[in-house]
Amino acid sequence: MSSSLEKLVEDIIRESKTKAEELRKQALGQVQEALAKERADALREADLIIRSAKSEADAERNRRISQAKQQARLLYLAEKNKVVRDVLKDLRSGLVQFARDDSAYGPFLLKSIAQGLVAVPSETVKIALSERDAKKFKSSRMLEEALAAAQTPRKAVLSDKPIAGTGGAIVTSEDGKIRADCTLEARVQLMEPQLLAEISRILFAS
């Protein structure tokens, strides 16, 4: 009887211990499952943060490099432009020398006047020269030669108003409505893009 009772008591205790252990195990499983789910969510969030940071970092690095490249390009182009413009400046100075060399400048002036005559379709035209040229060529037959070069039977008179500038001529119609600027300065201005391109080609051809 006593041993049966002891067994009964032991059974009651063992059963409750087993039940308690099952409850603990079940609860622990639920806790671990919840933790694992939350951990996975947090890791996903962290992954998004890192991936976004990588994109942000790449964009920042590329922005910085692109900015530096652009600055470098501008700096390089500015210097290149300066070098080319310096040659153009020398060209303008060279034109002053050219205008003093009668043997080279005389035919050029004649050609310039002839071009002006062709450009201005007026019976009578006025030809304006610099004071220096007017003095120098007044006594010559330059106007007649220019009319012959332009192959036009028109009348050309020398203007009494001298032009400022290095050289060349301005041809104007009698009524003053049509004007052909054949000065060296106008020629340089007109041909500037071509001149700059040619200078660049020679200076920077690789």
Partner: protein, 104 residues
């Protein structure tokens, strides 16, 4: 053993059994109560590490960008210097060619 004695032993066993289950329930309740804090702490740790990694990545990119920008600037300075040192013969050639083009 008398019947009351047997009953007493059984009642005591039942009491012990109840106590064991109640203790388990208390442990479980405690475990569940602590769960939100545990989750928050774990989440905070993971996100803190991610934030640290983010800062590191951005700082590295900033450094790499600055280094590359410096390299580009240095290279450009060399190229600009080379431009300034254009040979006189080339300049003369360009000037002569431009003069011919202008007066032709």
């Amino acid at each position: 053993m008398s019947s009351p004695e047997i009953m007493r032993k059984i009642v005591e066993a039942e009491k012990e059994s109840k106590r064991i289950l109640q203790e388990a329930e208390r442990e479980i309740a405690k475990m569940k109560k602590e769960l939100p804090d545990k989750i928050a702490s774990m989440r905070q740790e993971i996100l803190r590490e991610a934030a640290e990694q983010r800062e590191h990545l951005l700082a590295e990119a900033e450094k790499a960008g600055a280094e590359e920008a410096e390299r580009i600037a240095l290279e450009t300075r060399k190229q600009v210097e080379a431009l300034s040192n254009t040979p006189e013969a080339k300049r003369k050639q360009a000037l002569e060619k431009a003069m011919v083009l202008l007066l032709s």
